[in-house]
Amino acid sequence: MPRIVFLQPDGLTREIEAPAGITLMEAARLNHVAGVVAQCGGACACATCHVYIDPAWLGKLAPLEDMEEGMLETAWEPKANSRLSCQVTITAQLDGLAVSVPQRQGGG
C-alpha cells in the first residue's frame, strides 16, 4: 500500500499506509491525522481538509479543477501547493507522498 507522510500542525510527523483509490482526506481521517477536519465529508464544499503538498509531488497529482481552485482561494493561508485533500485520490505513484497540514482550517 502507498505510504503517506503527514506533518501535523502540532509538529509531529505521522507516516501512514493507505490503499490506492481512496482520497487523501479519507486516509487522513481513517488514521486520525490531526488538523484534517473535512466537515462536509468530501463534497468539495467546506475547505476544511486543506493541505500543502510537497512541491516535488505536485506534478504527480491530478490537476486542480475550477471548483477546488475557487474553494482554496479564500481558505486559511493558501499557497501555490495547496490542495483540498478530499479531491486527491491516492494512487500507487503517490507512494512516499509528503503532505503538511495547515495550522487552521476553513474560510470566513
Binding site: Q39, C40, G41, A43, C44, A45, C46, A47, D66, M67, E68, E69, G70, M71, E73, T74, A75, G107, G108
Partner: protein, 318 residues
C-alpha cells in the same frame, strides 16, 4: 432535580451536566397508505441500502417533495436509470431555501436529464396491495410507482427533553451558550432552536457545520469556559453535475442581486438587508461562495454596481 438518565435496559446514569444531541427525524407522511412497504425516507446511512436496492434501471421512482433530499435523490435515481417523477406542493422546487431563478435553473437541469417535476400538487393517498403501487393527488391525478421516497422536511427530536420538563418550541430551546431551560442540561445540533446574534433571531438549522460547531461550544460551556455560539450557517447540495453552495440566511432581505447568467451554468444570487450582505446562493461558483462566507461574517456592505458585475470578483465588490 434527579440528574439521572434512565436507559431502556433500566440502568441509570447520574450526571452533573448533560448534553442532548438528539438530531432530527424525517417528517412522516400521514395519508392513507403511508405505512405500505416501498415507502422510503432518507435520513441515515441505514436508509441508503434499502433505497439503493430498489433503484433498479427502469423502476418507476416517485419522489414526494422537491427540496434538497427529494432533488438529490431524484438525480441519483435518474443516474441509476430509473423513471423519476418529483411531486412538489409549492409552485417551485426548493421554494423555502433558494431564490426563484435558482429554482428555475435546477428544475430545468432536472427536466433536461429526464426527471418529471410536477409542482402545485398535493398527495392525498397511496394505493397498493402488498406494497406501494400508486400515488394519488388532490386534483385526481395519479402516478404509478415501484418505489417512493419521501422528503418533506425534518422535525427536531425533542420529546426526551420535553418529557424531562425542558422548554421546547420547534426544537429544544437553548441560549447562546447552548444551555437549555434546565441549567445542568445543554443541547447541540439539529435538535436545537438557538439564538443567532448575527441575524438577531432564533433559528433551527439542519446543517453539519452547525452540528460540529455548536457541539464544540456546548462542550466548552459545560466545562465552565463561557463561549458564545454564533455562526453564519452554510449548506450545499449536489444535483447531477451541479453544486449549489449557500451561505447565510436570506430571511428579511430587502434587496436581491444576481451575478452572472444562469444560461452559462454558473451564477450567484446575493441578498442584502439595509445594504449589508446577509446571504448568497452560488451555483457552480465556489469563489463567490468562499468570498461570501468572509464578507457576510464581516457584515460587509457591498457596492451594488460592483456586486452586479460578474467580471469583478465578489471579494473585491466592497
Amino acid at each position: 432535580m434527579a440528574r439521572k438518565v434512565v436507559l431502556s435496559n433500566g440502568e441509570a446514569i447520574v450526571y452533573d451536566r448533560l448534553l442532548l444531541c438528539l438530531g432530527a427525524s424525517s417528517r412522516q407522511l400521514t395519508c392513507t397508505g403511508a405505512e405500505l412497504p416501498g415507502v422510503h425516507y432518507l435520513r441515515t446511512m441505514a436508509d441508503v441500502p434499502k433505497i439503493q436496492a430498489a433503484l433498479k434501471p427502469g423502476a418507476r421512482a416517485v419522489i414526494i417533495g422537491g427540496g434538497y433530499i427529494g432533488l438529490e435523490t431524484a438525480a441519483t435515481a435518474r443516474k441509476m436509470g430509473c423513471l423519476v417523477t418529483v411531486l412538489e406542493m409549492a409552485d417551485r422546487v426548493m421554494n423555502r431555501v433558494v431564490a426563484s431563478n435558482v429554482s428555475e435553473y435546477f428544475a430545468y437541469e432536472h427536466r433536461n436529464h429526464g426527471v418529471h417535476i410536477i409542482c402545485n400538487t398535493r398527495v392525498v393517498r397511496l394505493e397498493g396491495t402488498t406494497q406501494v403501487e400508486r400515488v394519488v393527488c388532490a386534483d385526481g391525478s395519479s402516478y404509478e410507482a415501484d418505489l417512493l421516497v419521501v422528503g418533506v422536511g425534518a422535525v427536531a427530536n425533542m420529546q426526551l427533553a420535553a418529557d424531562a420538563g425542558v422548554k421546547c418550541d420547534n426544537g429544544i430551546l437553548v441560549d447562546e451558550y447552548c444551555r437549555t431551560s434546565d441549567p445542568d442540561i445543554f443541547a447541540a445540533g439539529d435538535c436545537t432552536n438557538h439564538p443567532s446574534r448575527h441575524y438577531e433571531m432564533r433559528v433551527r438549522l439542519e446543517s453539519v457545520d452547525n452540528a460540529f460547531e455548536q457541539a464544540k461550544t456546548a462542550a466548552l460551556n459545560m466545562l465552565d469556559k463561557p463561549t458564545v455560539h454564533d455562526r453564519v450557517p452554510w449548506f450545499w447540495s449536489d444535483q447531477f453535475d451541479n453544486k449549489l453552495l449557500i451561505v447565510g440566511l436570506a430571511q428579511g432581505h430587502d434587496q436581491q442581486v444576481t451575478r452572472g447568467d444562469p444560461a452559462l451554468r454558473s451564477f450567484t444570487v446575493c441578498y442584502l438587508k439595509g445594504g449589508e450582505l446577509v446571504a448568497v446562493e452560488a451555483i457552480n461558483h465556489s469563489k463567490d461562495y468562499m468570498a461570501a462566507r468572509k464578507l457576510i461574517a464581516e457584515r460587509a456592505r457591498p457596492n451594488l454596481d460592483k456586486l452586479a458585475d460578474p467580471q469583478i470578483a465578489l471579494k473585491d465588490a466592497v
